[in-house]
């Protein structure tokens, strides 16, 4: 794991004060010629002051993609960051950080090697050390809408026939193996997690879904897939593993309904949230 700072929100005990990344940002704004490595032109031009640290741009890109994935509500159409192309960042007096950026995204999935990239532009606003960044993002399509709908529907049909292993589980297992028949569970778990990961992302904290650790409920007898599960999120830069219980209801083409509760293992903070992708009044949630 990259040796990295823990600069989380203030309430966490025992963690150094979150000055480091802002200092890095401030200094980089004053230091000309800071270039991002990797393909494509770096943010700003060499020798021009104002180039933000590459880490911040990638942070913003990932937040934008989590948000996009959640809003799209399509487990076949999940996207991941390919490369940051360019970006600008500005910090105001209240330490709100606004990032404008362009990046490429590719389709999520192990079997996907078609190399097709979508191009995205986004504005991501991080309130000082607070999660739930405001995101405005648009991406070009990397797959025709009709094909995506078809794939979602195929996934839905496979999910309806699937008898999920209830209880504690490890998907993938220790050796990185996901049984192909269980793939719909993984994709839906990632879809729900996208909402959680977007909500939790700050300037300095980002997330990946490490493992599905429990399937609490998998109901497919009604129209929608009703899925209650626990996922382990890997948090950068603290390196913590955060268990989150997520409950989602999904039907292809409909906005995703999701609620969640994450455990904070050794700090006072806990986090939970609920969201619907549309204006429909929430149905009575399961209690947990």
């Amino acid at each position: 794991m990259p040796p990295a700072a823990s600069t989380p929100p203030a309430p966490r005990p025992g963690v150094p004060r979150p000055a480091a990344l802002l200092l890095a940002l401030a200094l980089s704004l004053a230091v000309p010629g800071l270039r991002a490595a990797g393909p494509g032109p770096g943010p700003g031009s060499p020798g021009v002051p104002g180039a933000p640290p590459p880490g911040l741009l990638r942070q913003a890109a990932r937040a934008a993609l989590h948000f996009l994935n959640f809003r799209a509500g399509s487990p076949s159409g999940l996207r991941v960051l390919a490369a940051v192309l360019r970006g600008r960042a500005a910090v105001d007096a209240r330490r709100t950080c606004r990032v404008d950026l362009e990046f490429t995204a590719e389709r999520y999935g192990p079997e996907v090697a078609d190399g097709r990239l979508g191009r995205c532009s986004a504005r991501v606003v991080f309130r000082h050390q607070k999660p739930r960044p405001a995101v405005n993002v648009t991406c070009t399509r990397f797959m025709e809408t009709s094909r995506r709908r078809r794939e979602d529907f195929l996934l839905y049909k496979r999910a309806k026939r699937l008898r999920a292993p209830l209880g504690a589980t490890s998907i993938p297992d220790s050796h990185g193996w996901i049984d192909p028949s269980l793939r719909p569970i993984w994709d839906l778990a990632l879809l729900g997690s996208s909402y959680v990961m977007w909500e939790r992302t700050t300037q300095t904290l980002q997330y990946y879904m490490a493992q599905l650790s429990s399937v609490n409920q998998w109901k497919t007898n009604e129209d929608a897939i009703d899925f209650d599960y626990t996922v382990l999120l890997h948090e950068f830069s603290t390196q913590e593993i955060i268990p989150c219980r997520i409950h989602l209801v999904w039907y292809p083409g409909k906005p995703l309904k999701v609620k969640y509760h994450c455990q904070e293992l050794h700090t006072a903070q806990e986090g939970s949230g609920t969201e619907e992708g549309s204006a429909v009044a929430p149905t009575q949630p399961n209690n947990f």
């Binding site: 990259p2 990295a4 700072a5 480091a20 980089s28 880490g55 993938p172 220790s174 193996w177 493992q211």
Partner: protein, 421 residues
């Protein structure tokens, strides 16, 4: 659960003479205060019951593990009940557990032996890795030796492979570090593959051969053996060491925040429960101290490379400060060439830069320590992938990852060979 090494390390003199443990149990007793602790110690120290501590009590409250022979079960249960001590039975039949373990390991041994060689495209137990290291050393005695540089907190050996054509002369040396964070399995797997690669290619690959004509290579595939065993037996996502922290129920320190380079500075935690806990003081972790002592004793290291996962990054100092390292320009140029060589195999793309601005500030890291101690060519690799599988990288990516990483490593080592100082 592979308790064999752990078991072997902890069982004390009192039961050395016994060979079988039918019906013996391990009790985990919730000792809440010093008073209860002394009562329990009294019980264990009393000769007649033949008890022994598996996890020694400290004066602070924490669970204590006690091995209870079957004949003493009844007495111990009554005692605990009368003292109001809470407990649970963590091992219900020690012999059954050991028999199970034996069977599993024999089965695995059978698998690897029957295919006549160690399967480099799979993840292995600590014992299997150590056996393969020994096997490589015995197969190529003129080139390789397996050296014990110390031991872990739970008393497992720390083994290094030394590749040298020098016959006793202390040449300038390269240190390849792997597995310091136990959950990053691709790191240990890449390291053992690299060991086999070196012995296979010496004398055939001109670049490697010329490197070994001038320098020695030291490879530590499992820098955190206790953590690695723990990821195989208890928690796949364990990162730290397994050292006990007095006064805390939380175990372990982050071995890559424990080095004496801006120790306890920005980018590490002072909370023992944190994944980036730096430990009570620099080199408090015996696993770290073993490497530090060895390298400092040798006094002629020129290159230190630390393998981690995941993120696909190739970084150089500093992590603990945003200030540019004096050799940053040269290190950046070398790193870019190495990343390009790596990408040439399968297109795997790495980001390059100093740790602090490529990711985030960090303190107490191994490469910063190496650099500040005169080892100029200090690099961190964050291997595959970029978050799809993360730590749980599928085994079928081990060999592709190791092969491409080798190209990057060679680029760096060639540069060191041509720029000895």
């Amino acid at each position: 659960m592979k308790w064999i090494l752990f078991f072997g390390a902890l069982i004390g003199l009192s039961i050395c003479g016994r060979e079988k443990f039918f019906g013996d149990q391990v009790f985990r007793i919730n000792v809440r205060n010093g008073d209860e602790s002394s009562k329990l110690s009294q019980l264990v120290n009393s000769d007649n019951l033949k008890l022994s501590f598996w996890k020694s009590p400290s004066i602070f409250s924490r669970p204590v593990d006690v091995l209870v022979p079957s004949v003493s079960l009844q007495s111990v249960r009554s005692f605990l009940k009368s003292q109001g001590l809470e407990y649970s039975v963590t091992i219900e039949d020690l012999q059954a557990l050991l028999d199970n373990e034996d069977e599993e390991m024999q089965h695995n041994e059978g698998q690897e032996r029957s295919s006549n060689n160690f399967n480099y495209g799979a993840y292995h137990s600590l014992e299997a890795i150590y056996r393969e290291m020994d096997s490589i050393a015995r197969d190529f005695p003129a080139l390789v030796s397996r050296v014990k540089i110390g031991h872990s907190f739970e008393n497992r050996p720390m083994y290094v492979l030394k590749f040298s054509t020098a016959e006793g002369r202390r040449r300038p040396a390269i240190w390849l570090n792997a597995g310091i964070h136990s959950r990053e399995w691709i790191s240990q797997a890449t390291a053992i593959w690299t060991a086999r690669k070196i012995v296979s290619d010496y004398g055939k690959d001109p670049a490697l051969t010329s490197i070994l004509e001038k320098m020695d290579i030291f490879l530590l595939p499992v820098a955190n053996p206790d953590g690695y065993v723990y990821t195989q037996t208890q928690n796949r996502l364990w990162r730290k060491t397994r050292s006990l922290n007095p006064g805390s129920a939380c175990v372990g320190a982050d071995p890559n925040r424990n080095w004496n380079a801006s120790f306890a500075g920005e980018g590490a935690s002072d909370n023992p429960c944190s994944e980036t806990y730096h430990g009570p003081h620099a080199n408090s972790e015996v696993e770290v101290k073993s490497v530090v002592d060895f390298i400092q004793g040798h006094r002629n290291f020129k290159c230190f490379i630390d393998l981690h996962s995941y993120s696909q990054l190739l970084m150089y100092p500093y992590g603990y400060t945003i200030k540019k390292a004096p050799d940053a320009d040269e290190l950046d140029e070398v790193a870019r060439r190495a990343a390009k060589a790596l990408a040439s195999l399968s297109g795997t793309s790495y980001q390059v830069g100093p740790t602090c601005t490529t990711v985030y500030p960090a303190s107490g890291s191994s490469v910063d320590w190496a650099y500040d101690n005169g080892i100029k060519y200090a690099f961190t690799f964050e291997l595959r992938d970029t978050g799809h599988y993360g730590f749980l990288l599928p085994a079928n990516q081990i060999i592709p990852t190791a092969e491409e990483t080798w190209l990057g490593l060679k680029t760096i080592m060639e540069h060191v060979r041509d720029n000895l100082y």
